[in-house]
């Protein structure tokens, strides 16, 4: 017995019409949390019309460990190493913001040499943060590996400096209220000066990669435009705010530390797009090098700790204080309330990258999925700080 298999001739097969657009229907995509371009465990719920973003809701909290509650249960000194873990790229500036708030709360003076050391370390932190941000951003855009390695080569030199000074490359725990933990030797300062002097050479080379690169210009100009009004209203700070042309740098406005003694300019953008945000970092690095060179010339000899401060068993007077600094990512503030006990009653971190994410949806609407990654990269987030 034979069986015949009936087959349809190709012409008789029903045609499946694949539309390139989903007519009237939006496709919901969950980008992240495990995604190489989200810079950590960050998720975006995106509604897509074809490739165009129509809605975007950021979802985070995967790294949440209630940093603020832990801070309430710790002594003032005990929180200092924990601030390193907020923005783990810039532990030095985190330390400084926290130390500054405690100093405001208790009215502590800082010796001159310590203030200079703080400025040197904060500006070195800015150099390595901005350099690696540019590397990551190029990596997100498809320039896989090489630019990031150029940036990391320079970052490595700065991390070596941090290690030889504080004993740790990233978790420095270097500052104390009333000064710094260890003094920098003359050798260390000479070594740091050498690295800073060589840095412009790297910048020249790196800027050549980005400034006139056709692909980069096509991917970043007119992408993710932010208006100055929205940026101010949404509390955007740091290079992102200045890329919109708003002249607001806390180093100039508050003049904390010894910044008023230094000559430096504030680079400003014009369009507020991704390209401006990118260039803002490159230009800020140039200014940081200027500040560092002045600091190496001016740094005086002297003590690095205020001898009157009892950092162990430290009890500030009853009251509250909000201290803020210009961290590489924006305004980093600590809000402390003391009830006179050894632990703060309230310990609040004002994280710049968390608040800079507020307008992520506004920036991405109308752009393609590929642009979302570039825009997110230019916001410069670190999940340790966003989730706390």
């Amino acid at each position: 017995m034979t069986t015949t298999i009936q087959t349809l001739e190709p012409a008789e097969r029903p045609l499946q019409i694949m539309s390139s657009r989903l007519e009237g229907e939006l496709l919901e995509v969950s980008m992240g949390p495990q995604h190489p371009s989200t810079h950590g465990v960050f998720r975006m719920n995106v509604a897509l019309d074809g490739e165009i973003v129509r809605k975007l809701k950021p979802v985070f909290g995967y790294l949440h460990r209630n940093h603020e509650k832990i801070g309430e249960n710790m002594s003032y000194l005990g929180s200092m190493p924990y601030t390193d873990r907020l923005d783990y790229f810039c532990s030095m500036t985190n330390n400084w913001a926290y130390a500054l708030s405690v100093e405001k709360l208790a009215g502590i003076e800082v010796p001159e040499r310590a203030e200079y050391l703080r400025i040197i370390l904060a500006e070195l932190t800015r150099l390595q943060n901005h350099a690696s941000l540019l590397g990551f951003l190029l990596s997100d855009m498809g320039a896989w590996g090489t630019p990031l390695m150029y940036a990391f080569r320079e970052r490595e030199k700065i991390l070596d400096l941090f290690e030889s000074l504080s004993g740790s490359r990233m978790m420095c725990d270097y500052m104390r209220f009333g000064g710094c933990r260890v003094d920098a030797s003359a050798d260390w300062l000479a070594g740091a000066k050498k690295i800073v002097d060589a840095f412009p050479k790297f910048l020249d080379e790196f800027e050549k990669l980005i400034v006139e690169n056709e692909i980069l210009i096509a991917r970043t100009q007119e992408v993710g435009k932010l208006s100055a009004d929205l940026a101010i209203s949404a509390g955007i700070t740091g290079p992102m705010l200045r890329a919109c042309g708003v002249n607001y740098d806390i180093r100039k406005v508050d003049g904390y530390g010894f910044y008023p003694r230094f000559k430096f300019r504030i680079p400003l953008g014009e369009h507020g797009d991704t390209y401006d945000r990118l260039m803002m970092r490159a230009l800020e690095m140039r200014e940081s090098i200027g500040i560092l060179k002045q600091a190496f010339e001016q740094i005086p000899e002297g003590p690095i700790m205020n001898p009157k401060v009892k950092i162990r068993g430290f009890r500030p007077p009853v009251g509250e204080a909000y201290g803020r600094i210009e961290a590489p990512k924006g305004e980093l503030g600590f809000y402390l309330i003391s009830d006179g006990s050894p632990n703060p009653y309230r310990y609040r971190v004002r994280p710049p990258s968390f608040i800079n994410l507020t307008i992520l949806e506004d920036l991405c609407l109308g752009h393609t999925v590929a642009d979302v990654m570039v825009i997110l990269g230019s916001v410069d987030i670190v999940m340790g700080e966003v989730d706390r």
Binding site: F60, G61, K104, A234, S338, T358
Partner: protein
């Protein structure tokens, strides 16, 4: 030069009729005193602070919550007493009970005039779950995520917030972790799954069944 909190208080009171404002003094060396504003006029006061030409507090930097438990304040009061037919003034300690409340604090700066901070606070009536406060997100967009965080961790409900959801904890989470009387659960992994019912049925299944005892001895007829 920026106005002192007292000057700002009088200016708000003349601009927003009926607004009640108290100055919360700060005794620490930071000397950052704050203005306690009433809930009913909060939105108008915030709008005034933002739009007033001299203040222009257009940048709301930091928004955060606070939990104040019930507390007892002991005060020394001079009381007139009649001792042995004579009226005398005696000092007496009195205890005043202050009920707890939740608080939201806003740190305001001006980008236009480069001054600040002006600190405003609002207090809820009590510490109940989802105690209401007016949202200031319509005035300053930067409060959007930060008010969501306060809602998430402190349980203050911000009326008028465009998208009030939990932000750091997951949506199904109950309780408010930043409150002072929060106790963390014994089992974070607990989920109300059918697991318990299944266990109960299994227990019944393995219960001794006397009517079947000795059944293994019954063999088939040879």
């Amino acid at each position: 030069m920026m106005d002192s909190p007292e000057q700002i208080k009088t200016r708000i009171e003349s601009a927003v009729p009926g607004a009640k404002i108290d100055i919360v003094l700060n005794g620490s060396p930071s000397q950052q005193s704050s203005l306690l504003i009433d809930k009913e006029h909060a939105r108008q006061i915030a709008q005034f602070l933002r739009d007033d030409a001299a203040l222009r507090l257009d940048f709301c930097s930091n928004v955060t919550g606070m939990d104040w438990l019930d507390r007892v304040v002991t005060k020394k009061v001079i009381v007139k007493k009649i001792v042995e037919g004579e009226e005398k003034e005696a000092e007496e300690t009195q205890q005043e009970k202050i009920p707890g409340y939740l608080e939201a604090v806003y740190h305001l700066y001006s980008i236009e005039h480069k001054h600040g901070p002006i600190i405003i606070r609002m207090r809820t009536n009590d510490r109940s779950a989802e105690a209401p406060l007016p949202s200031l997100t319509p005035i300053w967009r930067s409060a959007e995520f930060q008010e969501r965080e306060i809602f998430d961790l402190y349980g203050i409900r911000f009326d008028g917030h465009p998208d009030l959801r939990r932000i750091l904890m997951w949506d199904e989470f109950k309780d408010y972790p930043m409150r002072k009387d929060y106790r963390d659960p014994d089992d974070y992994e607990y989920e109300p799954t059918p697991h318990d019912d299944v266990l109960e049925r299994a227990k019944q299944h393995y219960a001794p069944r006397p009517q079947l005892d000795g059944a293994e001895n019954i063999t088939a007829q040879p």
